[in-house]
């Protein structure tokens, strides 16, 4: 496989049944856009990319939006179409994001048959009050059922997404959430601190003073997640991610390692070498451009400087259990780490800098120090 072979592909499916008030992704309700033409546009973009790059996927990741919102028919066409267009012989991980109540046993079986081997289920919480606040339309029971379907169909790589520091969510409630997810025994758990993203309804509420951020409280919930999940045998291998040994998300690890990836679909971001761009974030335009021009308009194109690439590597790799290599940190010369070591934020060994338990919740502050 040559140096320039792209091994990681992301597909953005921008449809959601309902819009969550904290979400800043490019997404919308399907309307008339979740149609055959959209699926063809995605397949066409894959073909177009194959002309520019040698593609031999090791990982595929379908995110959104809600990929499982595609109809069975469209889903089948998409998955089959990919098999026809891509050489999937090297594929080791194929993830689909899914939301409870957006698929049934047939859709699940279809994905499984077509080679999808990992599902990331957006559960967020096991409490109906919290789910309601988050604008999620499923109930805790539906989420459990959805998880069961996946297991029954034969998926052995399941992730559950959870969220903490949601307004009105107590530490006790979070503990229950964690216990419940542990009891279900997924292979992988993502636990995200709620983020107030600009241009979301939650952000407005925060600005209006109806919600409050409290980093001390966040720290307690974060700590609790690490402790409980580690005790249950999940390895805390990235700030927001925990996995049974061997069940880490290889696709996401590729992002953090700074590898090349191509993004397919509206608003999807690609990074090849020092070049980064984003597809047009408008589904109708996306489909039209693919049909009429055979290519997609690119937004926010940038060519990273080596220095910027270094910054990203530090910021991303520091978040992982392997840490960041000293060579990257000291690419431009010595960086004073005395204070970080004295304060017990990092440890060093084998040419790598790794966050301590104390350093983990302050990863961004530490990264800024290491950037120098």
């Amino acid at each position: 496989m040559s140096e320039t072979t792209v091994q990681h592909l992301y597909f953005h499916i921008p449809f959601c049944a309902q819009i969550c008030p904290y979400c800043a992704f490019y997404k919308h309700t399907p309307g008339k856009l979740a149609n055959a033409a959209f699926v063809e546009a995605l397949l066409d973009e894959v073909v177009a990319c194959s002309k520019d790059y040698e593609i031999a996927p090791k990982t595929l990741y379908f995110g959104g939006g809600t990929p499982t919102l595609l109809s069975r028919k469209h889903l089948e066409r998409l998955l089959q179409g990919l098999h026809e267009r891509l050489d999937l012989s090297a594929l080791v991980e194929w993830t689909f994001e899914a939301n409870p109540a957006t698929y049934n046993i047939e859709k699940a079986a279809l994905m499984c048959d077509q080679g999808v081997n990992r599902i990331s289920l957006g559960v967020q919480s096991w409490h109906s009050e919290t789910l309601k606040l988050l604008g999620r339309e499923h109930s805790p029971e539906e989420a459990k059922e959805a998880f069961g379907i996946l297991r029954n169909v034969g998926f052995d790589q399941l992730n559950v997404d959870l969220m903490f520091s949601v307004p009105n969510q107590s530490l006790e409630q979070w503990e229950v959430d964690l216990e419940q997810v542990i009891a279900m025994q997924p292979e992988h758990i993502s636990a995200y601190n709620l983020t107030y993203e600009e241009d979301t309804d939650f952000f407005k509420q925060l600005q209006a003073g109806r919600f409050r951020e409290d980093s001390d409280e966040d720290a307690l919930q974060f700590r609790l997640a690490i402790d409980k999940l580690e005790t249950a045998g999940y390895h805390h291998y990235e700030i927001s991610n925990y996995a049974r040994p061997g069940a880490e998300s290889k696709h996401n690890q590729a992002y953090w390692a700074g590898r090349d990836y191509l993004g397919i679909g509206p608003s999807a971001v690609s990074t090849i070498g020092l070049k980064r761009w984003k597809n047009v974030a408008d589904t109708a335009d996306y489909v039209r451009q693919m049909r009429e021009e055979g290519s997609v308009g690119k937004d926010e194109c940038e060519v990273l400087t080596p220095d910027q690439k270094r910054m990203e590597s530090i910021a991303l790799q520091l978040r992982t259990a392997e840490g960041v290599s000293l060579d990257v940190v000291e690419m431009n010369g010595e960086v004073d780490r005395q204070m970080l070591i004295e304060e017990g934020m990092i440890t060093e060994g084998g040419g790598r800098i790794v966050l301590t338990e104390k350093g983990k919740p302050l990863a961004d502050t530490v990264a800024l120090e290491l950037i120098g």
């Binding site: 983020t195 996401n252 910054m311 910021a315 304060e343 919740p361 961004d364």
Partner: protein, 599 residues
């Protein structure tokens, strides 16, 4: 025009009693400016002056007035600043006059500044013409105003002219009184050139413009002149009068007030109070100069960006030529880098200088907490003057520290006497005298440390009395006090910008206040930060900034990465602008906030 037909006068008044309005009315009445050109408050030409409704600079203007006696007079009006801080400007302008109009608001009566200004006029031996202004106001109380004039100012009430500057009532009477009551200027009988420089400005295109009063002889284009204090010679390029803008004339004669432009290039070449004479036929000795103004309030001014130091220096030089009372001297601070220790007449003066640096010179500056100048006697007998807390010697080698005291005249309505006295005592003041002005008001004369009235005394007085109180002050020497140097330590490191000299009994309260303020503005760090106020190593107040507990982005996947990096780039740039005190990073804004609002 002969000197007998010249009158030089000023208008003195408490702020808002109508000085500017009356000046405008006089200009209009003498057709110096047509009504069409008239823009309200003509003489306050600086934007700042108009905005704040105060006159900062002197604004001379020459008017022609045909009197009832049929003769045409040349009247030189010297508008003067109307704030206590600028009383030196008032005295300079008054020194160029033979008379003054003392303006009293008919509804407000005599105020603290009226008394102080009257005091200055008497010192200069001026003929004072009392004018009771604003008689059109429904609240005008003429008998009250007249009684106060007699009781407090000691001028017979019959001499008062009743006027309304706003409605144009009494303007003729005022002009006639100027001609009749104010004497013509006197001149020595030789005709050697003597002219006093009472102000100067720097004009980017024309260089130094000196404002002069010619006492004897004459000045015209081409005259070779000598500045008596420096002995330097120049050639006059232009002379003229103010109408009110500068308008060139052929000649300035004895008695005239006008301006001179010579080939002076730098602000340093002209000294306020200097005498101009002729190079070839110099007068034997200079005219009496002005008392050199001593700055009373000191503060460090630093460029926000260290690269701007040279530019700031140039700006300060230019400011100084228009403002002789402002002094500056380079200094450096560990926390703030290179800057200047500046001297001002008072708080308003300080604010104005800062504002002018910002507006006219586009400078971004930080200024440190204002202080006064202390006299220190060391145990070895050595005497020092200290205007910067960093230079105060160690406590054990200090025999005595003395602080400047001011005599404050405070006029308040009777019902506020109690609260007012409480405020005076809290600020280590003492009452010297109480004088009943009328049924509703008293004048309290108090001695207070200057340091205690620096920042907010006037504001507090105004709010306490709902705007009815007024104050003015004069310097009353130095007095020993139990003063100590208080340092602020951040994580054990002393931050020079926050050090101050305070009274022992007040140190703890101020230490607590500063520590709390610092806690508010210093962002949490990844470790605990101790803030301490100390005196000679003893901690008198402390606050703790607890360590930051969590700061980490939740999601970092494909599309999030650029955003994350851009944020880091921004934070990195922000960090560059922070000052590192030991391992603690403090944003520049934190310094500004603490230094600006501490009280």
């Amino acid at each position: 025009m002969s000197i007998e037909l010249t009158r030089n006068f000023s208008i003195i008044a408490h702020i808002d009693h109508g000085k500017t309005t009356l000046s405008d009315r006089l200009l209009e009445h003498t057709s110096t400016i047509s009504q069409r050109e008239q823009q309200d408050q003509l003489l306050d030409s600086m934007d700042l002056e108009r905005e704040r409704g105060i006159t900062i600079k002197s604004h001379p203007v020459t008017m022609r007035y045909e009197s009832k006696d049929g003769k045409e007079y040349r009247l030189n009006l010297l508008d003067t600043p109307g704030h206590v801080d600028f009383s030196y400007e008032v005295s300079r302008s008054l020194a160029a006059c033979e008379g003054a109009l003392l303006l009293i608001d008919a509804a407000q009566g005599v105020e603290a500044q009226t008394v102080a200004n009257m005091h200055l006029a008497t010192l200069q031996d001026l003929k004072v013409i009392p004018v009771i202004n604003k008689i059109d106001l429904p609240g005008a109380d003429l008998p009250m105003a007249k009684k106060q004039l007699e009781d407090i100012i000691a001028i017979p009430a019959e001499e008062a002219i009743e006027a309304s500057a706003k409605m144009g009532i009494g303007i003729d009477d005022i002009l006639e009184a100027v001609v009749e009551r104010i004497p013509a200027p006197e001149q020595p009988d030789d005709d050697l050139l003597r002219a006093t420089v009472f102000d100067s400005i720097f004009d980017t295109y024309r260089g130094v413009v000196s404002y002069v009063r010619v006492v004897s002889g004459q000045l015209k284009r081409g005259t070779a002149i000598k500045m008596m204090s420096t002995g330097k010679n120049y050639e006059v390029k232009e002379v003229g009068i103010f109408t009110p803008k500068q308008s060139a004339e052929d000649v300035l004669k004895a008695g005239d007030v006008g301006y001179v432009i010579a080939n002076m290039k730098t602000s340093a070449e002209v000294k306020i109070g200097d005498t101009i004479t002729e190079s070839k036929r110099p007068c034997p000795k200079p005219l009496p100069g002005f008392q050199v103004v001593q700055p009373m309030v000191f503060s460090g001014i630093y460029p926000v960006s260290t690269d701007d130091f040279e530019q700031l220096k140039i700006a300060m030089g230019k400011l100084q030529i228009n403002d002789a009372a402002f002094t500056y001297q380079a200094e450096s601070s560990v926390a703030l880098g290179f800057g200047f220790r500046c001297g001002f007449l008072g708080l308003l003066h300080m604010e104005i200088v800062q504002e002018r640096l910002r507006r006219e010179y586009d400078m971004d500056v930080i200024s440190t907490y204002p202080g006064v100048i202390y006299q220190v006697t060391k145990t070895n007998g050595e005497e020092l003057e200290v205007d910067n807390p960093s230079f105060l010697p160690e406590a054990q080698v200090i025999e005595e520290i003395r602080e400047p005291i001011v005599r404050v005249f405070i006029m308040v309505p009777n019902q506020y006497i109690g609260e007012m006295m409480k405020m005076v005592l809290e600020r280590r003041g003492e009452l010297e005298n109480t004088e009943t002005l009328d049924e509703v008001r008293v004048m309290l004369t108090c001695l207070l440390p200057l340091n205690e009235i620096l920042v907010d005394f006037n504001d507090k007085l105004k709010s306490l009395t709902r705007g009815y109180g007024s104050m003015d002050y004069e310097h009353a020497g130095y007095r020993p006090a139990k003063l100590v140097k208080m340092d602020m330590l951040i994580s054990g490191e002393s931050v020079d910008a926050f050090s101050s000299i305070v009274h022992r009994d007040k140190a703890q309260a101020r230490g607590r206040h500063l520590a709390a303020k610092l806690k508010e503005v210093i962002p949490r760090q990844m470790f605990t930060v101790a803030i301490q106020a100390t005196i000679g190593g003893n901690i008198i107040a402390r606050e703790t900034i607890t360590a930051m507990r969590k700061n980490v982005t939740a999601k970092c996947y494909g599309g999030d990465i650029s955003r994350k990096r851009k944020l880091l780039e921004k934070q990195k740039a922000g960090k560059k602008k922070m000052k590192a005190i030991g391992k603690v990073n403090i944003p520049q804004e934190a310094f500004i906030k603490v230094l600006k609002t501490s009280d």
